[in-house]
């Protein structure tokens, strides 16, 4: 039986009818049409579906819709302030932090979350902060560089 899910997505209150075990990933992509959140492995290994829930990094493929009731959710669509990109997004563009782009939304949310917790991370902290996000284009060096540069701006 469907339930009514009430949550705040990128600052906007949303109400939608969902099955309680629907994955938040599918609710975001298919119900709310926010397709910036990507599905990679679907089992919590790759981080492509990362979103922020009440300020904490979460794999949206592992979150049943019921547990998102009342949550404040930030997806990649909510990282920029209108037309102004976040410093992490600017740095990914400038320093080549993306190739195919599949891991990029999750990488950016993991990086934004890391910088909120640790504004000036060491390289080891950057590597650890992004350890749950896999890039299959082997672009890690440029991704780490982009995150380091984002802290300088």
């Amino acid at each position: 039986m469907r339930i009514e899910l009430n949550c705040t997505v990128n600052g906007v209150a949303r109400t939608t009818q969902v099955y309680p075990m629907a994955r938040l990933l599918d609710v975001l992509r298919e119900k709310l049409r926010l397709t910036g959140t990507k599905e990679g492995c679907g089992e919590g290994e790759c981080g492509a579906c990362s979103v922020l829930i009440d300020g904490a990094l979460v794999n949206s493929c592992l979150l049943p819709a019921l547990q998102a009731e009342g949550a404040k959710i930030t997806t990649i669509e909510g990282v920029a302030a209108g037309e102004k990109l976040h410093a992490v997004q600017e740095a990914f563009l400038r320093y080549g932090g993306a190739q195919c782009g599949m891991c990029t939304p999750g990488m950016i949310l993991a990086a934004v979350n890391l910088l909120e917790r640790t504004p000036h991370p060491t390289e080891a902290e950057v590597r650890n902060g992004l350890a749950g996000n896999l890039c299959r284009c082997t672009g890690y060096t440029k991704i780490f560089e982009a995150v380091v540069k984002a802290c300088e701006s």
């Binding site: 039986m1 099955y19 309680p20 075990m21 629907a22 994955r23 679907g42 089992e43 919590g44 290994e45 981080g47 990362s50 904490a56 990094l57 979460v58 794999n59 493929c61 592992l62 979150l63 049943p64 019921l66 547990q67 009731e69 993991a110 979350n113 650890n128 902060g129 350890a131 749950g132 996000n133 896999l134």
Partner: protein, 279 residues
């Protein structure tokens, strides 16, 4: 193949009493979901009715008393890493928590969930064995405490009735002066499930080991405390590796081989011995 979403039911527990009145053969508890959702997504979650206990405040929080530190079963891996008393007195626990999954998993995954998922490859439960943890199991008919060392009775088998819930994990304090060692061996430090994981702690007096605990993951049907190896370390350290080989029972599976696991377990024991003899 993915599961059929409408076939599953998940309801939110209104409070602990409500949860305990529901949990049994029909309704199973659902905490952080980091294990259950993986099975669900793979079409391998046979049970279909769950009650979410994640929001229950009674099962959260870390309480520090003079003799014990008690963790609510819903304590997340992130909370374990951030707690100052755990970091100073039970350092293997936050260390293992930091190597369990990635940050997103650590934010959702719970200690209690990890315990009842009962994977022999779990990275944090060996540290609970090293620290002599006790578990509080609650149901609508009451509460009982059991030593964690006897909780797992076989592969995915536990001393836990269908109507019971792990409520709290209690660690006795007073381990000042102990030396600690933890090492997980897997394909990669983050995310990867262990091939072998080793947790150990010991206390020496006058160069002699007077107290020692060793526990391993991924080398037996359950996480395992190695009592005989501990005795060997105290009485005849030169044969401890042989004793360890007799005490564990690694197998070949998708992640590693029995031969490799045995060799690595012995190497980790040797590293534990050498690090601690130099300390």
């Amino acid at each position: 193949m993915r599961s059929y979403v409408p076939a599953y039911d998940l309801i939110a527990a209104r409070n602990l009493e409500h949860a305990l009145s529901m949990i049994g053969d029909e309704w199973k508890p659902f905490a952080g979901g980091t294990d259950l959702m993986v099975l669900y997504e793979a079409g391998k979650l046979p049970h279909k009715k769950f009650i979410s206990i994640r929001a229950l405040p009674e099962l959260r929080g870390i309480a520090v008393a003079p003799d014990h530190v008690t963790l609510g079963a819903l304590t997340t891996y992130t909370e374990v890493q951030n707690h100052p008393v755990l970091r100073s007195e039970f350092p293997l626990l936050p260390r293992a928590a930091s190597e369990t999954g990635g940050i997103a998993t650590q934010n959702r995954g719970t200690l209690g969930g990890n315990i009842v998922n009962a994977s022999p490859a779990a990275d944090t439960p060996p540290t609970l064995l090293v620290y002599d943890a006790d578990l509080e199991l609650i149901s609508k008919s009451g509460s009982r405490w059991v030593p964690y060392a006897t909780f797992h009775t076989g592969y995915k088998q536990m001393d836990l009735r269908p109507d019971e819930l792990v409520a709290r994990i209690r660690l006795p304090r007073g381990r000042q002066g102990w030396a600690h060692y933890y090492r997980k061996v897997g394909t990669r430090r983050a995310q990867a499930i262990s091939k072998v994981c080793f947790a150990g702690a010991l206390r020496k007096e006058g160069g002699q080991i007077v107290d020692v605990r060793i526990a391993l993951g991924s080398v037996a049907p359950t996480v395992i405390r190695c009592y005989r190896t501990e005795v060997a370390l105290k009485q005849e350290p030169s044969v401890a590796d042989v004793t360890l080989a007799q005490e564990i029972a690694p197998i070949d599976d998708i992640r590693s081989s029995a031969v490799y696991r045995l060799r690595v377990a012995q190497n980790l024991l040797a590293e534990f011995q050498s690090l601690l003899s130099s300390s």
